[in-house]
C-alpha cells in the first residue's frame, strides 16, 4: 500500500528540487562572478518615474481593498471543495448533489449579505 505513495513522494521531491534550484541558480551565478552584480544605494531605492518618492508610503489605506480580498478568498475556497466532489460525482449519487447545494447555499447567503451591505460598491 505504501509503495503507491512513493510516486507522489518522488513527485514532491522533484517539485521541491526544481523550485529551490530556480531560486539558487542566480545566487550561485552571482557568487561565482559569472553574472556581474554591482549593488548601489540608488539602485535599491524604489523606482517612481525617475524621482525620489516623497511623503509617507506606509499610510492608512482604503478599507475597501480588504473587503474585496476577503470576499475573493471565501469564494476561492469553495472552488477547492468543489473539485473532490466533482471527481466523485457519479459514486456520490443524489445525496452528494443535495449536500453541495446546501454548502453553496450557505455561501450564497454570506455573499448576498456582503453585497447588500455595500462591500462591493467602489466609491
Amino acid at each position: 500500500m505504501l509503495s503507491e505513495f512513493s510516486l507522489i513522494a518522488l513527485f514532491i521531491l522533484i517539485v521541491l528540487g526544481f523550485a529551490t534550484s530556480l531560486v539558487l541558480i542566480p545566487v550561485a551565478l552571482r557568487k561565482l562572478g559569472i553574472v556581474p552584480s554591482q549593488p548601489s544605494a540608488v539602485k535599491s531605492e524604489p523606482y517612481e518615474c525617475g524621482l525620489e518618492t516623497t511623503g509617507p508610503t506606509w499610510i492608512q489605506f482604503k478599507i475597501r481593498y480588504y473587503f474585496y480580498a476577503l470576499l475573493l478568498i471565501s469564494l476561492d475556497i469553495t472552488v477547492v471543495f468543489l473539485y473532490p466532489w466533482a471527481v466523485e460525482l457519479t459514486s456520490l449519487g443524489p445525496a452528494g448533489l443535495i449536500t453541495i447545494f446546501i454548502f453553496l447555499g450557505i455561501l450564497a447567503v454570506g455573499y448576498l449579505y456582503a453585497w447588500r451591505k455595500g462591500a462591493l460598491e467602489w466609491k
Binding site: 548601489s40 540608488v42 525617475g50
Partner: protein, 195 residues
Amino acid sequence: MEIGSGINSMDLDLHEGHVIEDLKNSAASALPEPSRWLDEEIERNIITTTVDKLLNWGRKTSLWTETSFTACCTFEFISTSSSRFDIARFGMEVLRSSPRHADLMITAGTLTWKMAPQIKRVYEQMAEPKWVIAMGACGISGGIFADSYAVVPGYNRILPVDVYIPGCPPRPEALLAGIELLRKKIEKRSIAKGN
C-alpha cells in the same frame, strides 16, 4: 499644492532645483565610453569560453529597451519597432518602462538639464549588464539645440554611452545599424574582464 506632513510643491521644486544645479556643475566633461577594452586585441590570451558565448548570445539577442524617450527621435524609434522596419527581428520589440526589466537605454531625443537627474537615476536603477545608445544628433552633442541655455550638450555628460547614432532623426535603418554595432560589442564581452 499641499502634499501633507508639511511639504508643499514649492519645497519640492527648490529641492529638485538644487539637484539639477549640482548635476549641471558636476557634469562639465564627457564620461569615458566603456568600450576601451574593445580594441585590446593584443592581449587576447583569454579565449571567450563557451559560458561567455552562451551568455553573450542570450544577452545580445534579447535586448529589452527602457522607454526613456524624450523628443522627436521617439517617433523614429516607434517606426523602427513597428511592423515595417520590425525591430522584433533582433528580439527587441519588448519596450520596458521600468528600469528593472530593461538592459538597454535608447536615449531618443533632446536631454535638458531639468530632465538630466531623472535619466541618470533611471540609468543607475537598471541592472547590470546594461548599455546605452545615444540616438540622434541631440544625443551625441545637443544637436541643433547645442547652444541653448537649457540643453545638455550630449548624453555622455551624464551617462557612459556605448553607441552613438547620428541623424536628426536617424533613419530606422541607421538605428538598426547602431543596434548591430551594439550586438557586435556585446559578443566581445567576457567574464574574465569582470564586467
